[in-house]
Point group: C2
Chain length 271, copies 2
């Protein structure tokens, strides 16, 4: 049993989709979230820059005395997880391994699609993880650089010609190649899940990195005896690196609840 | 006469649209460009963060022994120009004043539209500048947060339903309010000029911040006797803060020429 909070971080507020799952499946855990809103988006940046940013993000979270950390950012998970795990003495979970595990389980024809940011696709981390699990799986990748800005501007609903056109362009080549499973490899994408499901049809199973990483995080807490006592209600604190003004409105979209929290401001360059 | 190079900086590569104009109207000047590609986009960030970034960008440029600097970034010009001018002993030109001057000259009905990033619109700098020039001008503003990511993903051409839908949504309210002049207040927007002109029709004059600021910069060099001797061909150096791999391809779009230059990499946090 361990009463210390869990930590979650992301390049921005997309990681709150994983927080939403965590609060549902681990209601007794207290949680500290950091979103690097001053430096979002991470998706197009170099490995070197990403590792530097990830180290600072984690250093801030570690100043809060946490028991374990979930990297709710596909880009950081694909580029920097190994280095962060090697440098830190607390359990750190990324989104890649658990998501690939699930994808390898659900695929029948072993043709798995991956949509993610450019940096995540370039890293090759999802392919490598899937091939470790099943060398016969074929991974078909499509970077989707416009999904994050479109979602952040509220364009994620069915019937919006802009997001529908962009999504169809991104997904059509994957569908033409006969995938039966599609990894949503960025924590912004759960907001697009209905739209993507419409385009892909019932023959394709969607696997969400936000959901699978939250499930994996729960398994880790169980396995290491780190769960908080049942019956209590954990609290949540939110921190961002840029202006916190719009936080409540945008966070409420990702969390799918009416958030009453104010976000603290962190000077992340100081970490 | 002054042989030292001129400096230009922007949050990313959009400022190269101003460089394109500068190379046309000041071919004898050597030029150093810095694009803060590791921290782009600036448009949604706080004033405090923007001033910090702008100081670092200028500090890097000043390490190159320049005679004058053009801030080819609407967001920095609207939020940080005054502070940078007060702190530095070389001439610095932003995009706001010259663009507003031109808009005040060309408007007949004194209803001027402004499209720009969220930070630029929030700053109120364009309105303030226009009202100093003509208190009777009415300024109608529309932040266009999706234009930068769409342009950077190559979606700026006529006939693309995505950019056309987004542009129509942004521009229709301004047109409904009877503007006869539209300020393109972000250096990415010259790539959208044809599309915007189609939507606005012949009754609206477009005023480009990239073009007007380059013209103002030339006037300043003339007025202060800072021009390089005629007849020579100035060279250009390019620096970015993140990976330089895609630089040639993206820069060629903004410069509208086949660029042969390689970009240098700058660790901007060190400035």
């Amino acid at each position: 049993m361990d009463m210390r909070p869990i930590g979650v971080f992301d390049s921005g507020l997309g990681g709150l989709t994983a927080v939403q799952v965590l609060r549902r499946i681990l209601p007794e855990e207290s949680l500290v979230y950091f979103g690097d809103t001053a430096r979002v988006p991470y998706g197009g940046r170099s490995r070197e820059t990403l590792l530097k940013y990830a180290r600072q993000d984690l250093a801030f979270l570690r100043s809060q005395d946490l028991k374990a950390v979930l990297i709710a950012c596909g880009t950081v998970s694909t580029t920097s997880l190994g280095a962060l795990q090697a440098e830190n003495d607390l359990p750190i979970v990324g989104v890649v391994e658990p998501t690939c595990q699930r994808a390898a389980e659900v695929t029948r024809n072993r043709r798995v699609g991956l949509i993610a940011t450019l940096a995540s696709v370039r890293s090759g981390a999802y392919e490598a993880a899937l091939h470790r699990l099943d060398p016969a799986v074929e991974v078909l990748c499509k970077p989707c650089p416009l999904f994050v800005p479109l979602v952040e501007n509220g364009r994620f609903r069915r019937g919006d010609v802009v997001i529908e056109t962009v999504a169809r362009e991104y997904l059509t080549p994957l569908l033409a190649q006969g995938i039966d499973t599609l990894i949503l490899g960025c924590t912004h994408y759960p907001l697009l899940e209905e739209l993507i499901a419409d385009i892909c049809g019932p023959g394709v199973t969607l696997v969400s990195a936000s959901e699978e990483s939250a499930f994996a995080f729960k398994r880790l807490l169980n396995a290491q005896g780190l769960r908080a006592p049942e019956g209590r209600q954990g609290d949540a604190s939110f921190f961002v690196s840029d202006q916190a003004e719009d936080f409540k409105r945008i966070a409420s979209i990702f969390l799918q609840e009416d958030l009453q929290h104010v976000a603290g401001r962190v000077d992340i360059d100081g970490y």
